[in-house]
């Protein structure tokens, strides 16, 4: 009994030490800027940028393979702060993807609750066999709800312009 305990303990300690050593020796070096960029991104892992998540997008942005304006939920504000951090000329960027909002077609919704379970920001409210609705203030347009909807009743559209969001366009240059 005693020998077995001793052997297992020593084995555990030695292996643990080896693991620790390996973690130090073979540590993957992370670019601190990647972490900084990732902290600035929304973090909803929505994948609208075409990368599997915000971490991968941050890496691609730092490496220069993704444009700093590829994050639709982040909008202009994020694009500008990223451009400043990564020293990218804003004028060199193409048109940014427009932020989208999900909306549920009321006549088709069966209240299956699949979409609200999938929503990363809890932007859909509803209950079993009850009509579901999207809270536009919380929706990031990630389309996860659309992918799981069995009734195909969710659509993603650009945010409509309202009296509260409309402003004068830039005058045409003389």
């Amino acid at each position: 009994m005693f020998t077995a305990t001793l052997v297992l303990t020593i084995l555990g300690l030695v292996l643990g030490w080896l693991l620790g050593l390996a973690a130090r020796l073979f540590a993957v070096e992370e670019n601190p800027i990647v972490n900084e960029v990732e902290a600035m991104l929304p973090g909803s892992q929505c994948g609208q940028c075409g990368f599997p998540g915000c971490g991968a997008a941050a890496e691609a942005m730092v490496a220069g393979t993704a444009a700093v304006n590829c994050c639709p939920p982040g909008g202009r504000a994020l694009t500008e702060s990223l451009a400043q951090l990564l020293d990218v000329d804003l004028n060199s960027l193409g048109d940014a993807p427009v932020p989208l909002l999900a909306s549920i077609e009321e006549s088709l919704c069966t209240g299956c609750t699949k979409c609200y379970k999938a929503c990363p920001t809890d932007a859909i409210v509803g209950a079993t066999k009850q009509l579901h609705a999207v809270i536009p203030q919380a929706c990031t347009g990630c389309s996860k709800c659309k992918d799981v909807c069995p009734e195909n009743c969710i659509s993603l559209n650009p945010e409509p312009v309202t009296l509260g969001t409309w402003h004068w366009p830039k005058p045409e240059a003389a």
């Binding site: 982040g74 203030q137 312009v161 409309w166 830039k170 005058p171």
Partner: protein, 489 residues
């Protein structure tokens, strides 16, 4: 004397006030068949409707309640039946729809039972402020800021001077001028009531010196009440802007980023003060206002007392219609007024005027490049550098535009008025301010979604833990019962 009465910059546009100046306010407009009451006629959140389609409403009945503290009540301006609650063309340059309650009037014009106050001066100021709030009164000079919010702010600060703004510096407009001439007693009474609410030491009614009749009427009305001073200020645009008027009356300038409260001054428009008097003395909610209908295309320009919600077309009809097709329709004055997309849009609380301008009056020119003459700098009443602000806004460099004072810009249009190159400077500033607001909103949304994501993660973790605990408990129970069974057997 001590530089009082002087403001920085400013312009002297042709006033065109003679169009309507000699004519008294038209009181009895034919009752419109339909009234459209927009839910958002004020700065802040839109009001929440309290009536449904098919409901009967009486004149002065509350039909939409203020949603939160930065909002305002909406009352029916005549009796009738609610026929729709839905989108109408908003009195807004975008031409976008706005939600409104439409009332089919029944022609009876029957009032709800009003609750007048016999002696408001004996009442508690907070109660009076609540009455002003209930009456749905907002800044009637065009700022449409809820009046009760301003009164309550005034109560929190020590207000030395209450200024009643009767300067009316916008060309064409004479609605305040006529209000002061024809209802001077009520304006003075209103000023005393506001003073009572905010407990100011001094009340000044400021009138531009191109309105001698209004000045005389007010002086006469104020004579029995020693505390109300009536004062003339020089005729100069933008004298009617709160910051400029405060400087002209008190000689003090509001520091950048601060408000008039911070230097102990509160400004209310004469129209607002009149509405407050009506609400407190007679219990009348805000359901009508005086509107100047003028411009080269109007047959017989007049000031009209219009029910809120009256389609603009009816106002034109009351002034004998149009001559020729107008080159531009404006709500408000020509300097700061907004383009109206159609004459179907209704009169709202902040509608000071309706102008139908001829091509000659609009005087549009194609913009030419900036020649850096600096006239806009001389004209800016806020002491900013409009040419640099516009240059940076034009290339979306809003940070530099802000450095040159974009935040302090009051959008008065003095710079664009004097610009020899006809550069639409104000549009640049509107664009820049709009973009900055949009950015701020998207940043806020991002913060919000980050919070939501972390809250959801915490919730999922909690749920998983609870599930695991429940499972463990069930297992334990099952094992216990099994061991009991084996013991029994």
């Amino acid at each position: 004397m001590f530089g009082f009465g002087k403001i920085r910059g400013g312009v002297h546009p042709e006033t065109h006030k003679d169009l309507t100046a000699g004519r008294s306010i038209l009181q009895q407009l034919p009752l419109p068949r339909q009234l459209h009451m927009p839910l958002s006629q004020h700065a802040g959140v839109a009001a929440t409707p309290l009536v449904g389609v098919g409901d009967r409403v009486l004149k002065g009945q509350l039909i939409a309640r203020a949603a939160g503290s930065m909002s305002a009540n909406v009352h029916a301006s005549s009796s009738g039946v609610v026929s729709a609650i839905g989108p109408i063309v908003a009195p807004h340059p975008s031409g976008l729809p706005a939600t409104a309650i439409t009332i089919d009037t029944d022609g009876e014009d029957r009032w709800v039972t009003l609750e007048p106050i016999t002696d408001p001066f004996s009442m508690d100021p907070d109660t009076l402020a609540a009455r002003v709030e209930a009456a749905g009164i907002v800044g009637m000079g065009g700022a449409i800021f809820p009046a009760a919010v301003k009164l309550r702010q005034g109560r929190r600060f020590e207000i030395q001077t209450l200024i009643v703004n009767g300067s009316e510096c916008e060309p064409y407009l004479t609605c305040d001028d006529h209000l002061m001439q024809e209802r001077a007693e009520a304006v003075v009474d209103g000023a005393r009531l506001v003073r009572h609410i905010i407990e100011a030491y001094r009340v000044v009614i400021a009138v531009e010196d191109n309105k001698p009749d209004a000045f005389a009427a007010l002086t006469k009305a104020a004579a029995p009440h020693g505390m109300v001073e009536v004062m003339t200020v020089p005729t100069q645009y933008p004298m009617g802007s709160a910051k400029q008027l405060i400087q002209a009356v008190t000689g003090r300038e509001i520091p950048a980023g601060q408000r008039s409260n911070d230097i102990g001054v509160l400004v209310h428009n004469v129209g607002t003060v009149f509405a407050i008097q009506q609400a407190l003395r007679y219990g009348r909610p805000l359901i009508s206002r005086v509107v100047t209908v003028a411009g080269g295309c109007v047959q017989s320009p007049h000031n009209v007392e219009a029910l809120l919600g009256t389609p603009l077309r009816e106002l034109i009809a009351a002034c004998d219609g149009l001559k020729g097709s107008p080159a531009r329709l404006l709500m408000g004055g020509p300097m700061m007024g907004q383009i109206v997309p159609a004459l179907d849009t209704p009169v709202i609380k902040g509608c000071t005027g309706l102008l139908a301008l001829t091509q000659r009056e609009v005087n549009a020119h194609a913009p030419a490049p900036c020649i850096r003459c600096g006239r806009c700098v001389d004209a800016c009443p806020m002491g900013l550098v409009p040419l640099e602000m516009a240059r940076h806004s034009g290339v979306d460099d809003f940070e530099h535009a802000q450095e040159y004072g974009l935040r302090d810009c009051i959008l008065c249009g003095s710079c664009a008025y004097v610009c020899p190159s006809h550069i639409p400077l104000v549009q640049y500033f509107e664009y820049a301010k709009g973009e900055l607001k949009e950015r701020k909103q998207s940043e806020q949304k991002q913060e919000y979604t980050k919070r939501l994501i972390s809250e959801r993660a915490a919730r999922l973790e909690q749920e998983a833990a609870a599930k695991a605990a429940a499972k463990a408990a069930k297992k334990k129970k099952a094992r216990k019962s099994r061991s009991r069974e084996s013991a029994e057997s």
